[in-house]
Amino acid sequence: MFVLGKNEKLISVTLLATLVVVGCGGGDSSDSAGSSSAASEATVMENPVDPSTAGNISGSVAFEGSAPAMDAIDMSGEQVCADKHSTAPMLQTVVVNDNGTLSNVFVYVKEGSAIEGMQFPTPSAALLDQDGCVYTPHVMGVMVDQEITIRNSDGLLHNINASPTEQRGFNTSQPFNMETSQDFGTPEVMVPLRCDVHGWMTAFVGVVNHPYHSVSDGSGGFSLSTLPEGDYVVEAWHEQYGTQAQTVTVTAGGTTDITFTFSADMANAVVPMRTPIDPHDHPLVTDHQ
C-alpha cells in the first residue's frame, strides 16, 4: 500500500491528467476499452447526411507491370485447412485480378471538411473469418468502435494478434470453432493482424471514424456512397505498394469516377503502418514545466 505522501502525488497526477484532457479540448478521449456502451448508443443515432445533397465516389484500382508471383502456402502441417482449398493456396500480399486490376486496396476518405465533426451511426458487426487457415477478408475496413466478429471456422488453434500503434492491441487464442468480438476505438490505417501459429496468416484492418471506406474487390472496384457534396482527399493503401491520394469533388446526386494506379515498380514503397512513435511527440502527464 502507498504511504500518505504517495497518495497526494497520485491525486495530483490524476488532476493533472484531467487538466491535460480538458485543456486539449477533451474531444476525443476514445480508447478501445469501454467502447461497447458508446457503440450501443451510436446504433440508435441517425445518419447525419441528407441523401438529397449527397453523391458517390466509385472507381477501380488499376495495376501496371507484371504481377509478382506469390509463394504457395505450405499447409501440409494442417490437413484440415489444406483440404479446404481446391487449388494451392497462395500468399495474398499482391493479388492481381484477371482483368488486370488490383485487389485488397483499402480506399477511404482521408480528409473532407464536409464530414468533419459529423457523428455517424456505428454499423453492425463486421466479420473476419479464419477459414482454411487464411483470413477472409485479407483487408477490411471498419468504423471506430464497430464490432469485429472474429470467427474460427477451422476448429484448430488460431491466435489473433493485433499490433496497432495508435491504440492498444490484443492477442487472443481460438483453439476451437468459436467467435470473439473486438473493436478499435481510435482511427488507424492500418492495424496489422497475424496468426503466430500459422506464420503466413496476416490481415489488415483500416479503422476510420466515418463510413466512407471500401476495399477493392475481385474486379478492382470500390465505392464510397452517400457523401455530402464537397471536396475530399481519398487515399488508397496497399500493403506492398504504399499509399496514394487524390482530391475528388462530389456533387449532389452525382457519381464521381476515379482510378488509382499501382505499378509493379512500387514494390519498395514505404507502407505507412506501425509508424515508430517518437517518445517526445506526445503529451505526458509529467510534461508540466
Binding site: 491525486i11 488453434l157 487464442s173 506464420g199 512513435i277 517526445h280 509529467t286
Partner: protein, 520 residues
C-alpha cells in the same frame, strides 16, 4: 459520489503545490535511476535501442509501445504499477534483464515505475488498469494433471511448445515478437526461466493475460466464449507446472557416477532402463563471450548429466533441450535471422553455414596436482585438455585434445569412446561410453574416488552456432563411486565444493569483465 469527488478535487487543489514539487523530485529520481541503470539496454528514450540492445535476444523492452509480457491485466490492457514493480524486482529470467530487487532502493523503484510510464503515450489515458480476477488454484492430483494434458492437446499448446513442452512445436521456427525479432517458444520443462514466475499461479496468469508483445495469446476469451471452463484452464496450468522438476535444480558441483552392482549391465544407450535409477545433475551453460567470435544468444542454457560405471567402463548420459536436429530446412529462416541480427557479428561467413548440433565434454588431460585445473576454455599449453566430441551428423564420437581455443585436434583412429545420440521431442540424449583405463597416454584415466574435472560445450547449429559461437559451462566434477565405505569421499567433496566455488567465481569475473569491455 459527487460530494466525494468535490472533496477530492478541493483536497487535490490544496495539495497541488506540494504534490507538484514531490512529483518533480520523483521524476528526477526516476530519470537518474533510469539513465544510470536501464538506458544502456532500453535506450535513453525508452525505445529499446540502447547501445547493448543488439547483443540481446529477445531485445530489451520498447517502453514507447507499452507492451508488457508480464501483467495481471487483460490482453491489450496496460500493466499496473505493481506489475511493473514486479518486473523490475524479478527481472526476466532467461533474458539479459536482471533482477533489481537488491540493487535499487524502494524509492528508486517507485520513481522508476512512474518514469517508465512517461515513455508511452498510453499511460496517461488509463491511469488505473484493473487486474483480472484470477481466483485461487484448483487442487492438484494425477487426475488433474491428466486432464491438463488432455486440454494441452485440445487447445494445441503443442503447436508452439511441442508435445513434451520443450519449445519444439511445428510453429516454433517462425515465431516473431511484435517488433519483428525471432522469439523462442518457452521450454516448459525449465520453469526457472519463465518470465513472471515459476509457480502454477504464474502459469495460469500467463494463460489468462497472454504475454503481450509476444506470440503467446490470452485464453480469457476462450473462457468468456464458454468453450472451456476455468477448471480446465487451471488443469492446463497444473500440467505445464508438472513438466518441470518439482524443485528448481540447485547448483551441484559433482556428478556422481554410480557404481553398478555385480552383474548389472552398463547402459550404453539413452533408452536404457538403468538411467531411471539415477538422479540427473543440472549444469547451466552460458554463451561463449570470452574469445572472438563471441556468441550472446546461446540456445543451450543447461544440460542434465547422469553417469554410471561398473569398474571397467563408464557411461555418461547428457541430455538437453534443443528444438530440432540441425541442420533442418524448417529452421533455416530462423538461423539466417538470428545470425543477421545478433551483435557483435564477428563470425566469418563460412562459420554460419549449415551446421550440426554438437556437444563436447572436456576433461583435463592429466589429473591436476592440487586444485589447479586447466583453463576452462580448452586449456592452455601447460595444462592441456582431453575432449569427447559428438556431432549430430556423425554416428561416432571423437577423442581429442587441445591446448587453448583453436588448437583442438581429434584422433582419426583408435577411438576408445563410443556414442549413441538421439533427438526426440525437442531433446538430445547422448550417451558416451569408454573404458576407465585406456592404452592411449593422451586419454585421461578415470580413477574411482577421484574428483575428475569435467565441463561441457554445446551448439545448436540452426541457432547459428558453430566454432567458438556456442555455449559452455565452468568446471564441474565427475566422481566415480568407489566400492568401499563411504568415508573416503567425505573430504574430496568438501575440497571440490571450495574449488568449484572458486572456479565459478573466476568464470563470472572473466565474463563480467568481458561484458564491461564490450559495453565501454
Amino acid at each position: 459520489m459527487a460530494i466525494w469527488g468535490g472533496v477530492a478535487f478541493a483536497l487535490s487543489l490544496a495539495m497541488m503545490p506540494l504534490g507538484l514539487g514531490a512529483l518533480q523530485e520523483d521524476e528526477q529520481l526516476g530519470k537518474v535511476t533510469y539513465d544510470r541503470w536501464c538506458s544502456e539496454c532500453h535506450g535513453v528514450d525508452g525505445d529499446g535501442t540502447g547501445s547493448a540492445a543488439g547483443y540481446m535476444l529477445p531485445r530489451p523492452r520498447d517502453f514507447t509501445l507499452a507492451m508488457y509480457n508480464i501483467r495481471t491485466t487483460a490482453s491489450g490492457d496496460l500493466p499496473t504499477d505493481q506489475d511493473l514493480l514486479r518486473a523490475i524486482n524479478m527481472g526476466a529470467p532467461g533474458t539479459a534483464m536482471p533482477a533489481w530487487d537488491d540493487v535499487l532502493t524502494e524509492a528508486e523503484k517507485q520513481a522508476l515505475v512512474q518514469y517508465l510510464k512517461t515513455f508511452s503515450r498510453f499511460f496517461p489515458l488509463d491511469e488505473n488498469p484493473v487486474p483480472l480476477v484470477l481466483g485461487s488454484p484448483t487442487g492438484v492430483s494425477e487426475e488433474v494433471i491428466a486432464e491438463g494434458r488432455g486440454q494441452y492437446e485440445a487447445i494445441e499448446c503443442w503447436k508452439c511448445h511441442g508435445d513434451q513442452g520443450r519449445g519444439d512445436g511445428e510453429s516454433a521456427a517462425t515465431l516473431m515478437d511484435d517488433t519483428g525479432f525471432p522469439i523462442a517458444a518457452a521450454d516448459l520443462t525449465e520453469n526457472w526461466f519463465f518470465n513472471g514466475g515459476a509457480d502454477v499461479e504464474d502459469i495460469y496468469r500467463a494463460l489468462r493475460t497472454g504475454l503481450d508483445g509476444s506470440p503467446m495469446p490470452n485464453f480469457s476469451d476462450v473462457l468468456n466464449a464458454g468453450v472451456m471452463t476455468d477448471e480446465e484452464l487451471w488443469a492446463v496450468a497444473h500440467y505445464v507446472r508438472s513438466l518441470a522438476p518439482e524443485d528448481t535444480p540447485g547448483i551441484s558441483e559433482v556428478v556422481l557416477a554410480k557404481l553398478l552392482t555385480e552383474g548389472a549391465e552398463l547402459a550404453t544407450s539413452f533408452d536404457d532402463q538403468a538411467w531411471e535409477e539415477i538422479e540427473g545433475t543440472y549444469i547451466p551453460l552460458v554463451g561463449q563471450i570470452i574469445v572472438k567470435p563471441r556468441w550472446f544468444d546461446p540456445r543451450v542454457d543447461g544440460v542434465w548429466v547422469k553417469a554410471m560405471h561398473n569398474g571397467d567402463d563408464i557411461s555418461v548420459l547428457v541430455s538437453w533441450s534443443d528444438p530440432n536436429n540441425s541442420p533442418d530446412p524448417l529452421w533455416s529462416d530462423w538461423k539466417s535471422q538470428v545470425t543477421r541480427i545478433m551483435e557483435p557479428r564477428e563470425a566469418a561467413d563460412n562459420e554460419i553455414d549449415a551446421a550440426p548440433d554438437q556437444l563436447v565434454v572436456q576433461f583435463p588431460m592429466q589429473m591436476p596436482e592440487g586444485m589447479e585445473r586447466p583453463y576452462f576454455l580448452k586449456g592452455d599449453s601447460r595444462r592441456p585438455v582431453y575432449l569427447w566430441e559428438w556431432k549430430s551428423d556423425r554416428q561416432t564420437a571423437l577423442e581429442g585434445e587441445a591446448r587453448g581455443v583453436g588448437t583442438e585436434s581429434f584422433q582419426d583412429e583408435g577411438q576408445d569412446v563410443s556414442v549413441k545420440g538421439m533427438h526426440s521431442d525437442g531433446q538430445w540424449q547422448v550417451v558416451f561410453t569408454r573404458p576407465l583405463l585406456t592404452s592411449d597416454e593422451n586419454d585421461l584415466d578415470f580413477i574411482t574416488g577421484e574428483a575428475i574435472p569435467m565441463s561441457f560445450f554445446a551448439w545448436d547449429g540452426d541457432n547459428g552456432e558453430s566454432g567458438n559461437q556456442g555455449s559452455l559451462s565452468s568446471w564441474y566434477f565427475l566422481l566415480l563411486e568407489e566400492p568401499t565405505s563411504t568415508k573416503v569421499y567425505v573430504a574430496p567433496p568438501i575440497a571440490m565444493l571450495i574449488a568449484g566455488a572458486l572456479g565459478f567465481f573466476i568464470v563470472r569475473r572473466v565474463q563480467k569483465r568481458e561484458m564491461e569491455s564490450f559495453r565501454s
